[in-house]
Amino acid sequence: MSIELKSNAPTGPIDSAWSRHKFDIKVVNPANKRKYTVIVVGTGLAGASAAATLGELGYNVQNFCFQDSPRRAHSIAAQGGINAAKNYQNDGDSVYRLFYDTVKGGDFRSRESNVYRLAELSVNIIDQAAAQGVPFAREYGGLLANRSFGGSLVSRTFYARGQTGQQLLLGAYSGHAAQVAAGNITMFPRHEMLDLVTIDGHARGIITRDLISGEIKSYAADAVILATGGYGNVFYLSTNAMGSNVTAAWRAAKRGALFANPCYTQIHPTCIPVSGDHQSKLTLMSESLRNDGRVWVPKDAKDCWNNDKAAVGRHPSQIPDEDRDYYLERRYPTFGNLVPRDVASRAAKLSCDEGRGVAFNGRGVYLDFKEAIGRLGQEEVAARYGNLFEMYERITGANPYTEPMRIYPAIHYTMGGLWVDYNLQSNTPGLFVLGEANFSDHGANRLGASALMQGLADGYFVIPYTLGHYLAEVGPRKNDAESSEFKGTEETVKGRVNKLLNVKGKRSVDSFHRELGHLMWEKCGMARTKEGLEEALERIPAIRDEFWNNVSVPGDGADLNQSLEKAGRVADFLEFAELKVGDALHREESCGGHFRLEHQTEEGEAKRNDDDFAYVAAWQFNGVDKKPTLHKEPLEFDHVKPSQRSYK
């Protein structure tokens, strides 16, 4: 089957594209909005903002999340900030500059029209959040404060101490709560979407499992919006919340939605290293630490404290400057410790591969504040980073004021996701995808503080318009959860749940997740090779096989069963992983977070191949154990000319 991927982006001048588009698309008559039921899956920044806004407009919204409360979505954990082209600092920022930076930062693998709109809407997000009472950081004069983030040349990042995601999400959640109270949103917490139902090719509803009663049930609607977050947990260890998963997106993919660029994953350079095999997740230490911290490893491998108990050589505080390798400052004299995430991450890996890593298994580097404490004084360092230092000490037991922090890169964000057009609609009509779950705006690499921006732009300002267009086109239809399509899909879901419960094997669910994650990290992580990826493609089906024959999911399906929840997610990761690795193998170039060792410049930087790979790779699922079909959406750059990134 051939699918034509139409971006549906307006042609003509890019700076008026969104306004023109809003005028050109259809609008639903206010009196008719009540007649439409819209399902929103997810209550993170994207889902909560979408549900609240659609509720305000008068749609009948049904909103689902797997946590016990919408307020707990993974977005709550975002720390650093949110970008907006407000130019409040008068330092030369503009919508165009944010657009330019985002396209370039994405290593020329995103769609210009979407990125421009994102930059344009960024300013409205800050207004919206401030009006909701989000307590952003302020200057003494009462105006909003900004900081520069992730190596950006302008100060455009708005923040709320180190808890920007929490405050933005609670803002969206409060607007959402108002709509629940008004009866416009019906909230279904502790419900997990386990399948998508399509009728005549259109998305018409979902099948969920009530995580408390175990009931598997159909919900029918006029449109389905997925805002279900990223798939970083395919690596088992990541900075994502424990429950973050690919299930909703993957089940939609299995029903025909195309999955775009699954190999694009972002690795964050400053996370607390793994401390042992028990590790369940990784904790991010804000990127802002690199503004004052210096990254180094010992020059002499003998000085590497791989594990405190087996300590050999000198304690880091006893190693004099001349015996330290400040490798980022050495390799990148201009940007130094502030090089972009992907560059910093790979450099850390390289030092560890050379045998100069510190921490458990030699997988860590030092992030040192000695110089900053000397320059600024301990008090100022505490004012800037005190809460982070405290968090670090709580987790590691070590005091970063007296000895360097140990950090290592970790999986953090996934740029790939379900393919969507300019309207954020997938190739399945009526299925819209927002936030981290879609692929649309960040290309092969996301800039810091841009995910929050995208989630909220999608939810507050894009979907209210584009959804209306779709609904006005199709008109009111009968929503019938009793129809054969729903009943059939419900049976499939029940069958799958029963199958998981009846393997009755000997291995825990986590043991499979860990095995898969380890393989993905080694073969499809920071540096990828053809051989490694091919090996992974051979091993994944074997792990999957073993899973279906030997997993142990105790208990039954009729009450809260956390093993069952996890098992369902791991089963989906085990299928999705293969697609991801296949995508990485097919993309014979390096770009952004996708680094193929075969494709690097002489200096060891990512080398793109614009002639052959300037496209979005959107994959069509053809069945487990069958090869997916590749569909390409060519990318054109009319405004930002592709260039080689350089941070020397």
Binding site: A52, E56, Q67, D68, S69, P70, R71, R72, H74, I76, A77, K86, Y88, N124, D127, Q128, A130, A131, Q132, G133, P135, A137, R138, Y140, G142, L144, A160, Q166, L170, S174, G175, A177, A178, V180, A181, P189, M242, G243, S275, H278, Q279, S280, T283, M391, R394, Y460, F461, P464, S508, V509, D510, S511, S552, V553, P554, G555, D559, L560, N561, Q562
Partner: protein, 250 residues
């Protein structure tokens, strides 16, 4: 280190529940409390026995999903620390640890250590918001907010909705949680139009759930992982009294 765990097991809301004892062996001090439970659960699962149900998501102390009583204290003995951020270096070899769900009438047990905290959502839904329709907002810098006020609002806004305040309170009062939201929104200029209506509605909602009254014990602020100050309760009470005269539909 090796530990003995006495864990509350309860199949469902109707089950009476009982303690069961488990050995946690070879526990490393770098493990978090929940990772220690993960390891115990992994063992149970591999044997085909039902693991201990408990909630967690972010494991960074910010989502508010985790929380149980550890040796009688919500989130354990370490101040300003959620259960997920408590690490095993706080314990010693041979320790016996009693692990129970948060106990409060308004938080019925669902299973083992998992409780139903949806009453918190209902309190927020009753009025814990500033009405600001998407797209209707003025420029963010049009309304300056003094830094001290913004910072105080922020401090109150850091509540993670975990419920430890309720679990620690001899009366199972939800005043700290409710007061935190009232204070956050009430301190900001954007929150003024609905200020008194908000406190009125939120307090009535709180009263209609199964929470008790505040007896000024102050246990809540000590148990709170975010150190929400008792000031928020004072603020709520003041606003509530004022609300009886102002800003209501009569």
């Amino acid at each position: 280190m090796n530990l003995k765990l006495h864990v509350w097991r309860q199949k469902g809301p109707k089950d009476k529940g009982r303690f069961e004892t488990y050995d946690a062996t070879d526990v490393l001090e770098d493990m978090s409390f929940l990772e220690m439970l993960d390891v115990v659960n992994d063992g149970l699962e591999a044997e085909g026995r039902e693991p201990i149900a408990f909630e967690s998501d972010c494991r960074e102390g910010i989502c508010g999903a985790c929380g149980c009583m550890i040796n009688g204290q919500p989130h354990g003995h370490k101040a300003r620390t959620t259960t997920c951020q408590l690490h095993m270096r706080e314990f010693s070899d041979g320790d016996e640890i009693v692990i129970e769900p948060f106990r409060a009438k308004a938080f019925p047990v669902i299973k083992d250590l998992v409780v139903d905290r949806s009453s918190f959502d209902r309190i927020i839904q009753s009025g814990g918001f500033i009405t600001a329709r998407s797209g209707s907002a003025p420029d963010a810098n049009a309304i300056p907010v003094a830094k001290v006020e913004a910072d105080r609002a922020f401090d109150a806004a850091t509540c993670i909705g975990c419920g430890a305040c309720v679990a620690s309170c001899p009366n199972a009062s939800a005043m700290l949680f409710t007061g935190a939201k009232i204070t956050h929104l009430g301190l900001l200029p954007q929150g003024q139009p609905e200020r008194y209506l908000r406190v009125d509605k939120m307090v009535s909602q709180m009263d209609s759930e199964d929470f008790g009254h505040c007896g000024n014990f102050g246990e809540c602020t000590l148990a709170c992982p975010k150190s929400i100050s008792l000031d928020v309760i004072a603020q709520m009470n003041t606003d509530y009294i004022t609300a009886q005269f102002k800003g209501r539909d009569i």
